[in-house]
Point group: C2
Chain length 197, copies 2
């Protein structure tokens, strides 16, 4: 039994232009189930998101989708996967997903997904939470985001002690193994309680 | 009189390793005041943030800082600039800043700043708001973030119609002029009301 009971995965509601995105999302779903880890996710049934959730569900592990009422029409195509938790808005959705999960993984996605992974990292930096945050760098998708973080470090806007607050790998097992081992860098001060996020 | 009464600026509480970051923040502050635009910002008195706020205040325009109680100790160095609005938490801070401002600008900053600008873009994409979002690309700081967005477009995770939802320039006047002219791309559907954000 590993350290994770549930992982929250951020990802796009598109499939992406290469089949590799859906393939690796399925691989992640199967590996989560194999390790006995439940999925918490944005609740959609389309794109990378739907492929991931169906893979976890199909392999017999629990899926919990967290979705604002108002987005149901947009991100569900009739079919709900696993258990659905409906929230009032986007912020309640993120707070709910964060409270349910023991860690966060970003798969490829658009503005919303990029924002979600950076928000999880901001929370670690501020000491709101210290759960592992992993980036699955399928097809080098997130190279530029990692370069952006490196720019922040080089130019003095991100502190050296906050360099290693995320894990990155281009393979599913590589990422999960890193996250299992991850410890938050020493010296992170807690400034905010979870209620203040 | 331009279209903006107040602009919300996201930026770091560090100074950055090159003096150009503080210099351009001051230039932005002076130009906002010259155009009769008030500043809404994160309320800190240190780093790029403090330099910007002091420049607006010193040039005679109104400054409103919005800060969670819990971050006051961290981001204020005793001296408050302009009017301070205290919020319960990080989300209330962002909602308050968004409601006060007619548009958003990102100056260089760390995880939190990157998250804030991507959240503003996510809101535009979801139709929660249609206020202009500008990136001041001082010293090419945000080249990698723009490359990340381009990757999203190229790989099919960001739709073509959402390409032009932000403005970018490496000069203060260039950015403000673009934002004055900016119209949201046609065909953006509103899915969420502001209360649902
Ligand atoms: Mg956010």
């Amino acid at each position: 039994m590993g350290r994770f009971r549930r992982l929250c995965v951020f990802c796009g509601s598109s499939e992406g232009k290469s089949p590799v995105y859906v393939e690796q999302a399925k691989m992640l779903g199967q590996e989560l189930a194999k390790r006995g880890i439940e999925l918490v996710y944005g609740g959609g049934s389309v794109g990378v998101m739907g492929a991931l959730a169906r893979a976890v569900d199909g392999a017999g592990a629990k899926v919990t989708g967290v979705i604002p009422h108002s987005l149901m029409q947009r991100e569900l195509s009739g079919e709900a996967i696993g258990e659905l938790v409906l929230t009032k808005g986007m912020h309640d959705r993120k707070a709910k997903m964060a409270s349910l999960a023991d860690g966060f993984i970003a798969l490829p996605g658009g503005y919303g997904t990029m924002e979600e992974v950076l928000e999880a990292l901001t929370w670690v930096q501020l000491g709101i939470q210290s759960k592992p945050v992993g980036i699955l760098n399928t097809n080098h998708y997130y190279d530029a985001l990692i370069a952006m973080i490196d720019t922040g470090l080089r130019e003095g806007f991100i502190k050296e002690k906050h360099r290693d607050i995320y894990c990155v790998s281009d393979t599913v097992t590589g990422l999960l193994d890193k996250m299992e081992q991850h410890t938050p860098p020493p010296g992170l001060t807690t400034w905010l309680s979870p209620e203040e996020s």
